[in-house]
């Protein structure tokens, strides 16, 4: 396991042309992830968390205009041809999405689908690819792998399908795994199995993981670093311990307090008024100010706060960072 940076994005911006105007889905985002580490991107719907990752890996929709600097294993992806980018992505990046059926072809056996990537990217023969598929199914904990290799996706349960997708994502031993809400559609006991599985495989293979989630509890258990997104920008980032223990942005603090805590026994939950903004109608200045409980002065309304350090390895985008020990 090395300490090298696997994927880094700098000043990433994604604008999507729609019938109702230009939607600025992602604006000036910087993050990176190292081998063996997990970066969690956290946010609500429309925050840009998924779009930033799709754009970084060249999977943004056609209507999207993507600018910024993206480096995968040190290679500037902008210098590659479309085919070169595709090859690089296929060989070095694995994907797991929320709905396993987005990744699985219903008319092919799971074995064929897992094997296919290793035929294309590793040059394995059909026979070797099948053996590899069985090995991968065993690795992700699917029982009787030698038989399940010939099963079609519909013959597997939701949890088993997601395991098969993980097998498919990891078959080429990628340097990077992108997991976009991979457990959101699963039951909590199955979710626990999948989180454990990915963490275990990461330890063994030294994969870098970008985990996109709205679930702060899941993120708390698996992330090394966290970036909290709101309105297309990172509003807070740092080590998972620093961000969760001492949230400096009013949004992060409110999100952490909004979940009911059965041990705390409160009647009224802390709420954030209103709803997350649409990328089509982002407020000027700080995107969070219309919902913010701190909202000091009209500066928040006019000016975009810069991302500034509050402690070593912990940055926040607000004019009013919360002080340590302040009540959430």
């Amino acid at each position: 396991m090395t300490n090298e940076t696997v994927l880094s994005v700098a000043d990433l911006t994604v604008t999507i042309g729609t019938r109702r105007g230009a939607a600025r889905a992602v604006a000036g985002v910087d993050w990176s992830v190292r081998a063996g580490q997990t970066l969690a991107l956290v946010g609500e719907s429309g925050s840009g968390k998924s779009m930033s990752v799709l754009a970084a890996t060249g999977l943004a929709p056609r209507a999207a205009r993507v600018t910024g600097d993206v480096r995968l294993l040190g290679t500037d992806l902008a210098t590659l041809s479309a085919a070169g980018r595709r090859r690089m992505r296929g060989r070095h990046v694995g994907f797991v999405f929320q709905d396993p059926m987005t990744s699985l072809n219903p008319v092919l056996t799971v074995g064929r689908q897992i094997g296919e990537a290793s035929e294309v990217h590793l040059g394995l023969t059909r026979r070797a690819a099948r053996a590899r598929a069985i090995e991968m199914l065993e690795l992700v904990g699917i029982p009787s792998a030698a038989e399940r290799v010939d099963a079609y996706p519909h013959q597997l349960s939701g949890g088993m399908r997601q395991r098969a997708v993980i097998a498919m994502a990891l078959v080429c031993k990628p340097d990077l795994l992108i997991a976009d809400e991979p457990t959101t559609a699963l039951d909590v006991t199955t979710q626990a199995q999948i989180v454990e599985l990915v963490a275990d495989l990461q330890r063994r293979l030294g994969t870098a993981v970008v985990w996109i989630s709205h679930d702060l509890g899941v993120v708390a258990g698996l992330a090394d670093t966290v970036a909290v997104m709101y309105g297309g920008r990172i509003v807070e980032q740092g080590t998972v311990d620093a961000v969760f223990a001492e949230p400096a942005h009013p949004y992060t603090a409110a999100l952490l307090a909004a979940r009911p805590d059965p041990d705390a026994n409160v009647t009224e939950l802390v709420t954030i008024p209103g709803t997350p903004p649409s990328p089509l109608e982002l407020p000027k200045g700080c995107a969070f100010w219309p919902r913010c409980s701190v909202r000091g002065d009209s500066r928040c309304e006019r000016e975009l706060p810069p991302l500034v350090p509050v402690a070593a390895g912990h940055q926040v985008r607000t004019f009013y960072p919360r002080q340590t020990g302040e009540d959430r």
Binding site: D187, T189, G221, R259
Partner: protein, 340 residues
Amino acid sequence: MTGESGATDVVAGLTDLAVWFPTPAGVVRAVDGVSLTVRRGETVGLVGESGSGKSTTGLALLRLVEPTAGTVQVAGQDVTRWSRRRLRRLRRRVAMVFQDPQASLDPRHTVGASIAEPLAVHRLAASGAARRDRVAELLDLVGLRRDLAERHPHELSGGQRQRVGIARALAGEPDLIVLDEPIASLDLSVQAQIMNLLRGLQRELGLTYLFIAHDLAAVEHMSDRVAVMYLGRIVESGTPAQIWREPAHPYTAALLSAVPVADPPVQRSRQRIILAGEVPSPIDPPTGCRFRTRCPQARPDCAQTDPVLVEIGSGHEAACLFAGEAVRAMRAQPVNASSP
């Protein structure tokens, strides 16, 4: 969960309810022997994973699914065999709020028309003007601006749509509101708003809820009593504190240990009871205890005897031959099987 207090404050009850669905693959026993009592002014939480039968149980209270066996009582009357005509009266007494307000509201109707519909069906407003007044009043109650009555569902946010769903449920002044995953499809910051709204309305109007969800922390927060379901049965019931702090059924304990906690050091070092495998098919549930195929503490007796709910503390019941003891043993020696 059978109460000892007088029958007068019981709003709704199920006795040995079974709901089976015939399918080409066999008979699915979605609900297979559930008894439940809901008293006036309280919230009963029903928690379980997919396939546990919690939603079907809720639908049975409105007779939106046909009971295969057992009885359904609402407001002191046995409604199990009520005809379609009489059911209209039942559906004024029991209202429902669904998970996805996008799907449960007619996209062609304005918000006002959707809320007014139950008023018309149940003849609750004498005139058009009276109906409009009542719609405005209901919008106020759920915290929506009155002018939203003219809008269509697609013009609203998810949280606003769910507020409309709640206003519609309130329209007939029901005795019971069945809330089926009312916050599951909302953003985190909006979930808290809806939970606060539901609790506020309950205090203000004395409402009675059956709160159905897979989110254990939300159920604990919302409920006065909680029932945990697994494969068509209630396996444990009690107060939120009993369920959260002293779970007696191994399934409840496993479910609790799988709920992620937003505290990194705690979450990383927690002793988790990770269940092996998946929920068995409700077409052919295991003999004896239904949970035994996944239970880390299963013993030979568990295959022989189908455990019934037994009181193990004041108002705390569990359906496990080794209630309490099994959980203590699991916690002393957590099983960490990440593969089934």
